[in-house]
Symmetry: C2
Subunit: 340 residues, 2 copies
């Protein structure tokens, strides 16, 4: 079965290929009578527009690339879906890759996307991304790259939560409960997001009397439930029993709940737990989890907008956009009281 091209259509409609092309794009130069005739020929022959051919000539592709680490974390899933939605409404298709937080894999995916002529890339950088690792590919092609949720370079656009504010909000809440000590558990050790959250927590705790330690479980923990369990185990096995455990993310907090219970400790009663992200699950857990909402939908939407702007005008200076977080207080901390 031969594919139907614009040539076939134009021949059937008795016009030139150029005319058919103009009809396709709804040019006002073609009178309705002719246009109708061409459109009829299209449906009759079962014509399918070949975007690749068009894009080749126009040297754009109407596709965006999106690389995220892992969508089994609902936070990233929500982010991804919003970005897809924004891209689609702007007429773009989305090429996705999951780096699984592996720089090597991420490089390959960047390379592929560039070869596929994407018009822009949204990158949620794998931990350990550095400019020179990513740069070569980006430089060679001059594709605009926007960093989402984490960043490693000041020279590229960035959209993410205001992690410092988020940390501060959480710290103030925890100290207002009267806790004496808190630890941070989980999260990708060298990511900007983690560093900023720690910074926020530290400044938020200053002068409050709460002893805060972010170093207890940092190494080798990951941004999922397993990382949470492992982190709790490591802390408690050191004989440390903080008043409040702060999880790097809700995904981590879920593992923290599980590990606490394995040790017959009830979250929210024996140890408070609080977290970042506020995924839908947070509210449905028992006890409901106190979490700082970082609004992935907003971030995704803004990221897509900003990238599309840059595609239109590549000369813009690098931009940073921070989304304001909001603390959601729930039973996992609200019921806290000093041990007797």
């Amino acid at each position: 079965m031969k594919t139907v091209t614009l040539n076939d259509v134009s021949r059937a409609a008795g016009v030139s290929r150029s005319t058919a092309s103009l009809v396709l794009r709804g040019s006002p130069k073609i009178p309705e009578t002719t246009a109708e005739r061409v459109r009829l020929a299209m449906t009759e022959l079962g014509y399918v527009y070949n975007r690749h051919a068009a894009n080749m000539r126009r040297s754009e592709s109407m596709t965006l690339g999106l690389i995220v680490t892992d969508i089994r974390n609902p936070y990233f899933a929500g982010l991804t879906m919003t970005i897809e939605e924004a891209a689609h409404t702007a007429g773009y298709t989305l090429l996705v890759g999951y780096s699984r937080d592996d720089v090597e894999r991420q490089s390959l995916q960047l390379e592929t996307m560039v070869q596929q002529q994407v018009d822009g890339i949204l990158l949620l950088p794998a931990t350990g991304s550095e400019l020179n690792a990513v740069c070569g590919i980006i430089d060679r092609s001059s594709v605009p790259v926007l960093q989402v949720a984490r960043y490693f370079s000041e020279e590229l656009d960035y959209v993410g939560p205001d992690n410092i504010a988020a940390g501060q909000q959480l710290a103030r809440h925890v100290s207002s409960l009267g806790a004496a000590s808190a630890v941070l558990i989980g999260g990708p050790e060298r990511s900007s997001a983690r560093t900023e959250r720690i910074e926020g927590l530290e400044t938020g705790f200053t002068g409050s009397g709460v002893v805060f330690d972010s170093s207890l479980s940092a190494a080798a923990t990951t941004n999922n439930a397993a990382g949470g369990s492992e982190g709790v185990a490591r802390v408690l096995d050191q004989g440390i029993w903080p008043d409040c455990i702060i999880a790097y993310s809700d995904a981590v907090a879920i593992g923290i709940y599980a590990e606490l219970r394995r040790r017959n400790l009830e979250p929210g009663r024996d140890i408070s737990v609080a977290s970042f992200d506020d995924i839908a699950m947070a509210e449905l857990l028992l006890p409901p989890l106190t979490s700082v909402s970082t609004y992935p939908e907003l971030i995704g939407h803004q990221a897509a907008e900003l990238l599309l702007n840059r595609i239109r005008d590549p000369s813009l200076r690098p931009q940073r956009s921070l989304v304001e977080p909001a603390l959601k207080i729930r039973a996992s901390t609200a019921q806290w009281r000093p041990r007797t």
Copy 2:
């Protein structure tokens, strides 16, 4: 900044464009000395391969399309990630769309993907998909489409769990507990997966004495936590108090837990809860959730394999591949005993 083409490279290396092209594809006809010279010119000029141009000539695109309903359901997230992985290792890039279980949106995404010249499409059909809604686009382009996890047509390939077996396993387990009544809650009403699960449950319950009702909450419930809460509310508000609630999926079960507790009923003690999918969360819930694992990784992997086979040989007859499920018994049903 002008883009560097094969022409530029060949000129710099003092060979013809044809030779450069052959080097690119590692042809054995070109001796290593020449190849090296060409490769040097490539890196020196910062050449980036233009896949679109190549694909245009070869009339393939090395991209696959994937349309799923919603990846905030971890089951679909896992499925999606496996498919991406399989596609990437086979050298394909993935174009994704999230239908949000909306047929209209799904049609648009199919259309776009076909225009983008994808070599094949993996479709997790939105509920209400019918052949004629999808067919037009598919027919016109003759792109191979494979159905994942749900199906609506016997003429297209299908890979999914053996839902009937899954239902039977669950039914037998529930009846072995001595339950007298069970209801099914949640799930997309007209999907093949739900119909099959009900069929499996019904045959599994036959002769066991367990009264099973799947009609109580069917209408208008969805495949997520909200659907679960709503479903439980509707059932209990009718004055029905089953011994066991069977959730369409783990995502639904999470909402069921929440709604039961809102009514001061403890899942696994006052009412047993069991479910399908066995996402990672199932084990971490309190009480851990009995669920039939349907192995999204296996399904995703097989789906990608099968689609790639069909792309290689489009003349194959439509294939069906069912993945065997496995029941994971946990505390949400294990602790069940008759009310006194």
